[in-house]
């Protein structure tokens, strides 16, 4: 699965500016659309005043439902404007802007028609048409909301099939609006007096009328289908997308409730209830959608919704209990007072138990653990602590010490661990975090970590994972550099061994044989010849001695066979300065490590021989530490200024040798205070 990028975590990405003109145009359009709302409200007030002046206060649009409507159009417009300016390519912003405009235009046109077609017929142009349109505009709201459901959160329909459902809804809505102009008016108050001059007559009118009703019903059905699409999307969604849709899923669930409420309201002739319910829904919908699309505080939604949902469900349960009791007791006793008291007591008695049950049920859906884990990770992302890695935090947040993170190094096409080592195989349940142009990391945890939680914390940790991934890429290069250094050094050691072997088995043996023959010849000769042969034999022995020293310097077999102590003591015996060797460990290390320590000590001893001066003595110490093996070669000689000679060739060699194995070298010296060369090597 792929976690998308929570926008809120991306930091404010710079708004991509097109040409300045286009940007200005966009702002102008948005400003105009938003300005429609106050303009229309003003128009409604104006027409109400005109209607009262005309003696038709019954035609005014009261403010009972007006407040909610105003809220709805303001919310849709403002949210729409914000979304459009923020994400101009996302259709939902435009839909809300349109919805707000339509909501505002409806009442204004209603006032226009009430005055111009009913109170003072003929006083205003096209008043009847405006009324017909105003009466049918609610269908377009349905269409807008249906499209919002279809296109949230990513601006695309769930699938081509759902896209067709969306198109059908749009078609049905437009058809019903068109048919309004061809059929006799069925306008609701205050426009019930409207008479459509364009309406067809006779059988055609009946057919068109039926067609119009069907189109309206289909549009309503389309809205329900859109709600279902959102719920399906919600069910399928994982990780961030699911979090986004959490905002909207309740809204979608409310659609059938809304439909039911509208039936109840029309049955009870209680327009106010319907207005309030519908209005609130229409107020909240844009806000919820905007939150979903911008992914604002994505994860707080869990907690808020879980509490809200619990109380909503509780209210529903209590209301049902109340109603049932009222109906039952009312039917039995007929006493409305008594039935209300009994109903209240009944409701109170179930409240506590119901709340606990419901909260548990809700918490199973919205889980607390995930919320806390995400909060911990978010805190870390905002204020990283030094010395704490993102992996540590993820482990703690997921409650799984075995959690492992691998980073994708795009240039190498491979997964590495945080320290640049090759990562383990991709687990089947690993969460892969992908950015917009590349994969970032994958995180695997044990089976006891819920996949949803893991995805949530990984998504939240994205910025840090991104950084850690970059560090891992650098670490990988360091590891490779170190390995290549190690390969170079060990290849050099191997060739040293090879040279030593060749000298031993070749030149040295031949010289020995030559010396033997000279020795034998010497026994057969006498006089000057014997003396000359003696001399020759001595020369060959001298050559052998030098060759032996050379071979030993190239690579001491002693090191392989007897370890550091013996090899260093033998080297010390040959040293120019009196040298004490103290090897405080009998342990054998890897050949590469022993060679590194040996040659570094040898190099330091030779340096002391060259530079420490007469009378200086040298001490070599080798010991074991928790971290590995350490050595120290110190002399009490002349010393030197490290700034001047600190990077001479010998030290570079030592650093290379140690560095190739992850070790370190320090040189401490100064004129007149001797020299201490220290090295450590992990083993």
């Amino acid at each position: 699965m792929t976690a998308t990028v929570p926008r809120a975590l991306r930091g404010r990405s710079p708004v991509r500016l097109g040409p300045v003109g286009r940007r200005r145009l966009l702002r102008t359009v948005v400003a105009l659309a938003v300005a429609v709302v106050p303009a229309c409200i003003a128009l409604v007030v104006v027409f109400d005043e005109l209607l009262r002046d005309a003696g038709r206060p019954d035609l005014t649009q009261g403010l009972t439902s007006g407040v909610v409507y105003v809220l709805a159009m303001v919310s849709a417009s403002v949210v729409g404007a914000g979304l459009v300016l923020h994400r101009p390519r996302h259709p939902v912003g435009w839909l809300f802007l349109g919805l707000g405009t339509l909501q505002a235009v409806g009442p204004a046109l209603t006032g226009y028609a009430a005055y111009g077609a009913i109170a003072r017929p003929g006083s205003l142009p096209l008043a009847t048409m405006a009324g017909l349109f105003a009466d049918s505009v609610f269908v377009l709201w349905f269409v807008s909301i249906a499209l919002v459901f279809h296109l949230t959160p990513d601006g695309r329909a769930l699938s081509p099939r759902w896209a067709w459902a969306a198109r059908a809804t749009v078609g049905a809505g437009l058809l019903s609006v068109a048919l309004v102009f061809l059929t006799p008016s069925h306008a609701e108050p205050p426009l019930e007096g409207l008479d459509n001059p364009l309406a067809a007559g006779g059988a055609v009118a009946d057919v068109l009328d039926i067609a119009r009703s069907v189109a309206v019903i289909l549009t309503g059905a389309g809205l329900v289908v859109a709600a279902v699409s959102l719920l399906v999307r919600f069910r399928r969604a994982r990780g961030t997308a699911r979090q986004q849709l959490l905002w909207l899923a309740p809204a979608a669930v409310l659609i059938p409730v809304l439909v039911a409420a509208s039936f109840v309201a029309s049955y009870l002739r209680s327009q106010a209830v319907l207005d309030v319910v519908a209005g609130l829904f229409v107020v909240l919908l844009p806000i919820a959608t905007a939150l979903a699309i911008t992914q604002y505080h994505l994860f707080d939604v869990d907690r808020i919704l879980s509490r809200a949902l619990t109380y909503a469900l509780l209210t529903a349960v209590l209301a049902i209990v109340y109603v049932v009791v009222v109906v039952a007791v009312g039917a039995a006793a007929g006493g409305s007072q008594l039935s209300a008291v009994v109903a209240t007591l009944a409701a109170v008695s179930v409240a506590g138990a119901a709340r606990r049950r419901l909260q548990d049920a809700v918490d199973r859906r919205f889980n607390r653990r995930r919320f806390d884990a995400v909060r911990m990770v978010r805190h870390f992302v905002r204020a990283p602590e030094p010395g704490v890695s993102v992996e540590d935090v993820l482990r703690q947040a997921a409650g799984d010490p075995s959690l492992r993170v691998a980073y994708w190094v795009d240039g190498r096409r491979e997964w590495v661990s945080g320290d640049g080592r090759p990562a383990a195989e991709l687990g089947a349940d690993d969460v892969v975090l992908a950015g917009h142009d590349r994969t970032i990391a994958r995180v695997g945890a044990g089976p006891e970590v819920p996949p949803g939680l893991l995805r949530a914390v990984v998504t939240e940790a994205r910025p840090e994972l991104d950084n850690a991934g970059l560090r891992a890429a650098v670490a990988l290069q360091l590891v490779e550099v170190r390995e290549s250094r190690a390969r170079i050094v060990s290849a050099a050691d191997a060739s040293r061994r090879e040279i030593e072997r060749n000298l031993h088995d070749g030149a040295q043996q031949h010289l020995v044989a030559l010396a033997v023959k000279l020795g034998l010849a010497r026994r057969l000769a006498d006089g000057d010849t014997a003396a000359l042969l003696d001399e020759l034999r001595t020369d060959v022995q001298e050559t052998l001695t030098q060759l032996r020293e050379l071979a030993h310097g190239i690579y001491p077999p002693l090191l392989r066979e007897h370890g550091l102590g013996e090899a260093l003591r033998t080297a010390a015996a040959r040293a120019v300065r009196p040298t004490t060797v103290d090897v405080a460990t009998a342990r054998r290390f890897a050949p590469g490590a022993e060679a590194a320590v040996y040659f570094c000590c040898l190099e330091a001893m030779q340096n002391a021989g060259k530079h420490a001066g007469d009378g200086a003595s040298v001490t070599v110490h080798v010991g074991e530490t928790d971290a590995g093996v350490e050595f120290e070669v110190s002399d009490d000689g002349a010393g030197f200024d490290p700034a001047v000679a600190g990077e001479s060739h010998g030290f570079v060699n030592m650093r290379d040798r140690l560095g190739s194995l992850g070790g370190r070298l320090t040189v401490d010296s100064g004129p007149g205070r001797g020299t201490v060369v220290r090295g450590t090597l992990p083993v």
Partner: protein, 238 residues
């Protein structure tokens, strides 16, 4: 050394079979093998009974011929590391009466000490170029056949000249005593030391007593035990 010197105090009687010392020569280098053979062939009291090119052949030859002395290269197949010393270690158990002369290109004391770690009796550690001095090789062969020990002077020099930390007990020795100590470490008898340093045997004895006292060693009666003591002592100073 003349045969009459062999009976000098502090040396063992010769262990001979029919008066000849029977030798097995082992070296993976044909040139050296032949060299050793030819050198030993110069002496009527020495007889090469078999040659070997690696460790297994050597052990098989010893099994078969029961020689008095093995002259072996230190570095042979199979691993070309320290086969000669391993052979010597093994022969201590399987053929305790067989002496071993290890020929080596290494003047490192480590090998010599390892060779002598099970006791210095019947063991010699020589640098290979000593083969070019036929008498020295022959003498070493005879010495181990007699039960004595020989350590190459070059190796002893490394031991003695090796670590000289402050407070080195050797610092308290006179130059002469140090020379005597080196000679002892090579496995020489009092007479041998006297001959090398052109001293009387009495003078040598005096030096030995003095330096042993200085070093806190007890004067050992038998040459090879004295060698061991001195070598171990020198090794402990490193």
């Amino acid at each position: 050394m003349t045969p009459s010197a062999l009976a000098a105090p502090g040396t063992l009687p010769p262990v001979t079979t029919g008066g000849r010392v029977r030798v097995v020569v082992a070296d993976d280098a044909l040139l050296v093998r032949e060299g050793v053979q030819r050198v030993l062939g110069l002496y009527p009291d020495l007889e090469v009974v078999a040659v070997a090119g690696d460790l297994d052949e050597l052990l098989a030859a010893v099994e078969q011929h029961r020689p008095d002395v093995v002259v072996t290269d230190i570095r042979m197949p199979p691993t070309s590391s320290d086969e000669g010393i391993r052979a010597a270690t093994q022969l201590r158990r399987t053929a305790p009466d067989t002496g071993v002369v290890v020929l080596s290109q290494y003047a490192a004391p480590g090998y010599a000490l390892e060779l002598l770690s099970g006791g210095s009796q019947r063991r010699a550690y020589l640098l290979k170029e000593r083969i070019s001095e036929p008498d020295q090789l022959a003498e070493a062969v005879r010495e181990v056949a007699r039960g004595g020990s020989v350590v190459d002077p070059a190796v002893v020099e490394v031991l003695v000249a090796g670590a000289r930390p402050a407070g080195d007990p050797l610092a308290g020795l006179t130059r002469r005593e140090l020379e005597v100590l080196e000679q002892i470490a090579q496995g020489k008898s009092n007479a041998g030391v006297a001959a090398s340093l052109v001293l009387t045997e009495r003078a040598v004895e005096k030096h030995i007593n003095a330096l042993f006292a200085k070093l806190g060693l007890t004067a050992e009666p038998e040459v090879h035990r004295r060698v061991s003591a001195v070598l171990l002592y020198l090794a402990s100073l490193r």
